[in-house]
Symmetry: C2
Subunit: 202 residues, 2 copies
Amino acid sequence: METYPSVLLEKAVGEFSKLPGIGRKTALRLVLHVLRQPVGEAEAFADAVLHVRKDIKYCSVCHNISDDDVCPICADARRDRSTICVVENVQDVMAIENTQQYNGLYHVLGGVISPMDGVGPGDLQIESLVQRVKDNDDVKEIILALSSTMEGDTTNFYIHRQLAPLHVKVTMIARGISVGNDLEYTDEVTLGRSIVNRTLMD
Amino acid sequence: METYPSVLLEKAVGEFSKLPGIGRKTALRLVLHVLRQPVGEAEAFADAVLHVRKDIKYCSVCHNISDDDVCPICADARRDRSTICVVENVQDVMAIENTQQYNGLYHVLGGVISPMDGVGPGDLQIESLVQRVKDNDDVKEIILALSSTMEGDTTNFYIHRQLAPLHVKVTMIARGISVGNDLEYTDEVTLGRSIVNRTLMD
């Protein structure tokens, strides 16, 4: 165990090391960086953290992060309203948008079903997806674009079953993605192709 | 360039990506982690950042980070007051303390001389080191423990020259082969120096 020369320093290192992927050594490096910056920089940083946590909103339609009640994608009249792409989180929306291969809408689940982490279907935006399909007759296709993991597959299967009575076409992005890889780290060409080559679930 | 669905989110990502070694993708991951935490956690984090930046003090003797005017090491009566180990920063103090091989005092320079980064001798705690040696007759040895780089060597040389008139012994930490390293993979300069500076076995 490291001994820090200051309680203040140790507390700040403790807070930084709570962030995912940040160990105590990296945390110390980050805190020392903050110490070298002008006070205004530290204030701007702390302010952005508080502000984003307290004031962030979620789109009432697709549940993506948004500054307004309805996000720019859902509000965009040029997007194809017959297709909804179901993703895990905001990174996945950004990754798919970057491919420029998709012009439909999204539905952000907020995670995948993972009994190990205590995440059940009720913790995700699945019921609101079903309701969205029920309420909008122009929705013709649901593209499931979840990570190619056990949890992703379980969630795909669960959603497929929930949507089965609704006579909407349910497709899945092509498994061009390497098994075990996270969606957000897939290169754009593979990801783009996997959307074009989506396969019909039957 | 990524397009973020929210200005708030983009701002927070921008702030996190100013930290050393944090790219925009990692920054986004950190911000989304903050969003998943309770508001109290985000407040504790922001508070620790502000608090450490605004209220941190430096030891008036050795310039290490400290909660009091004099740090615990300088205040410790059991430490050997005849030896001062000169280091670059607080991490180096912690690293040497962890070895449990050193019982003297420290002097934290706050960096090394680096004309490329605009850091001259005046930006470092070198003059205060010279003054400290002048003021304390019981100081018998200065150990230079700076990084084995061009900048570290320059700083070593500069400090050595400044201390020359003071008749204090100036030593340098040994440069040699790291413990556990294969001889054949050690670089030539290090290997050469480890032969020249060989130590007597007794």
